[in-house]
């Protein structure tokens, strides 16, 4: 995987501009007004996490960035381009990868077909060999049906198939959810490595410890808006306080 690629240079020029800038984002599911004017930004190479209780709007936020919600308003500018109004299928080619909360592994496809499904969007994506080196379990399960994988394997596959595409801006929704601690550690190693390679990641998480292992900053989402922004050191120092605040 290359660390200096064709648009890091461009990013240096845009250094003063965040990679993504979200302004007043609103979203609806049918009649239900779920996001009420959310604003945040994320710089190139940063890992930012969205924390919050269940139902706060974290997953909806990620979906609204892509356009997976019924209705949205506001502004989402990614490297100078307004994403609101863009058809969903034009988002991935911008270099944005999505690892959904439910993992989205297709049961009607083999592991290999799942892995190869998302088309390449940027040069410099991981090769299959590099992916098998990162996730050795996947190599052994290539011809299995997607549904036969364990939760941890599905999570690895969901991340792996995005890494193959060359996307460098990743939206990751609760990657540690429902996984055994040993697997969580493995996923954590992967995310750490991606961060070191210069990926930009928006991470939705309920596991504060996991988020604090690599995020630079955290936004606490509450009732569809940003309630607070805290740095990672603030989170680490006050983790119990934040945890009890979020569990109320």
């Amino acid at each position: 995987m290359t660390t200096i690629d064709d648009y890091t240079e461009e990013a240096r020029q845009l250094d003063k501009e965040p990679a993504m800038s979200v302004e007043g984002l609103e979203a609806w599911y049918g009649e239900s007004h779920v996001l009420h004017g959310l604003s945040f930004d994320i710089r190139e190479g940063e890992v930012v996490s969205l924390l919050g209780r269940n139902g706060a709007g974290k997953t909806t936020t990620l979906k609204s960035l892509l356009g997976l919600v019924e209705k949205r308003k506001g502004s989402v500018v990614y490297r100078g381009q307004q994403l609101i109004g863009m058809p969903l299928r034009k988002i991935a080619p911008l270099g944005i990868g999505y690892v959904p909360e439910e993992r989205g592994i297709f049961s009607g496809l083999t592991v290999k077909e799942n892995l190869l499904l998302p088309p390449e969007v940027r040069p410099g994506g991981m090769s299959l060999d590099q992916i098998y080196e990162l996730f050795p379990n996947l190599r052994q399960r290539l011809s299995s049906q997607g549904s036969k994988l364990s939760g941890g394997e599905q999570q690895m596959l969901a991340i792996a198939r995005i890494l193959r595409t060359g996307a460098r801006f990743i939206l990751m929704d609760e990657p540690s959810e429902g996984l055994a601690p040993v697997i969580i550690e493995q996923i954590g190693e992967t995310v750490k490595r991606l961060k070191n390679e210069g990926f930009t990641i928006i991470l939705v998480e309920q596991n504060l410890q996991f988020a604090s292992d690599f995020a630079d900053r955290h936004y606490i989402i509450e009732q569809g808006t940003v309630a607070e922004e805290i740095s990672n050191s603030e989170l680490v120092n006050d983790m119990e306080k934040v945890r009890s605040y979020l569990s109320v």
Partner: protein
């Protein structure tokens, strides 16, 4: 032994052959319906009209353009597929956001309109279409008489079904289709043009129906109503087989055709209803269909 029950082998196998042919058409048409329903969530009531248009395309090419069977086999289904694409782009796609019942009603209406237009110009009497020279005549196998053209229809149908299965289950395009059937928005979030995939899938379903129509033209008279009765039975076949698998649709189609044929030999009065009886039983015992995926 058969002579004891007053049935000759010629009669039995002759009827089984008819059953197999019907089964081949049930397989091709239920395959088309299943593929369309899987991705678009629309029950394509226009399918019968598309079958009929395939037969008419062959007839028109012969009588208006002097073009024979082989060009008809190639061009006919393509023309009908293009009309299908036009219908999907201009009308069906507008209904994806709303209750899928509206798609059913729309395709039902379109089917009626198309059938009505053809009936208006061509009446209800059948128009003849000749069997191509190379397939004329038949072979006496000793226990049955096998018309060459019917042998061709069975082989061609089996080939089409096999090719469809291979494309869907073994190719990259098929993987896109299977994935989009499960989770269309996620597939689109990966950058794949799912709306275009839906259009092509509808076109392909129409192509399958029309292909069956061209194959049918020399056997049954070409008439505007030929799709109507067939479609009702095909829906029953789809319910029995379930929407879950391509292979399931194919196997169910052929099997039910044979069952219908057998019933015709031993209990002819029931032959037109036996498939619906099977459908009722399957709905009671295994509502998702024999090969259906339980939601």
């Amino acid at each position: 032994m058969l002579e004891l029950i007053g049935i000759s082998t010629y009669s039995l196998f002759g009827q089984l052959l008819v059953g197999l042919i019907n089964g081949a058409f049930y397989a091709i048409l239920s395959l088309g319906l299943a593929v369309i329903f899987g991705l678009l969530n629309i029950i394509n009531f226009t399918h019968g009209a598309q079958y009929m248009m395939g037969a008419f395309a062959a007839w028109m090419m012969l009588n208006y353009l002097g073009m024979g069977y082989w060009p008809a086999l190639v061009a006919g289904p393509v023309i009908v597929a293009l009309t299908g694409i036009a219908i999907e782009r201009s009308m069906i796609s507008k209904l994806y956001r709303v209750d899928h019942l509206y798609g059913l009603l729309l395709t039902f209406g379109i089917g009626l309109i198309i059938t009505g237009i053809f009936r208006n110009y061509y009446g209800s009497a059948g128009l003849p279409y000749p069997v191509p020279d190379v397939f004329q005549g038949g072979i006496d196998l000793g226990f049955m008489y096998l018309p060459v053209y019917r042998l061709w229809v069975i082989c061609a149908s089996a080939l089409i079904c096999l090719a469809t299965w291979l494309v869907i289950e073994k190719t990259k395009l098929g993987a896109y289709l299977r994935a989009a059937t499960e989770n269309p928005s996620l597939v689109e979030a990966f950058g794949i043009n799912v709306p275009r995939l839906m259009t092509l899938t509808y076109g392909f379903g129409a192509w399958l129906a029309a292909m069956a129509g061209v194959l049918a033209a020399p056997m049954y008279s070409v008439n505007p109503n030929m799709g109507i009765d067939l479609l009702i039975v095909v829906f029953a076949v789809v319910v029995i087989g379930g929407m879950g698998s391509i292979a399931g649709a194919i196997v169910t189609g052929f099997a039910l055709g044979l069952i219908e044929g057998l019933t015709k030999v031993f209990y002819p009065e029931a032959s037109s209803t036996v498939i619906f009886v099977v459908m009722a039983i399957v709905l009671l015992v295994r509502p998702a269909g024999l090969f259906g995926k339980v939601a």
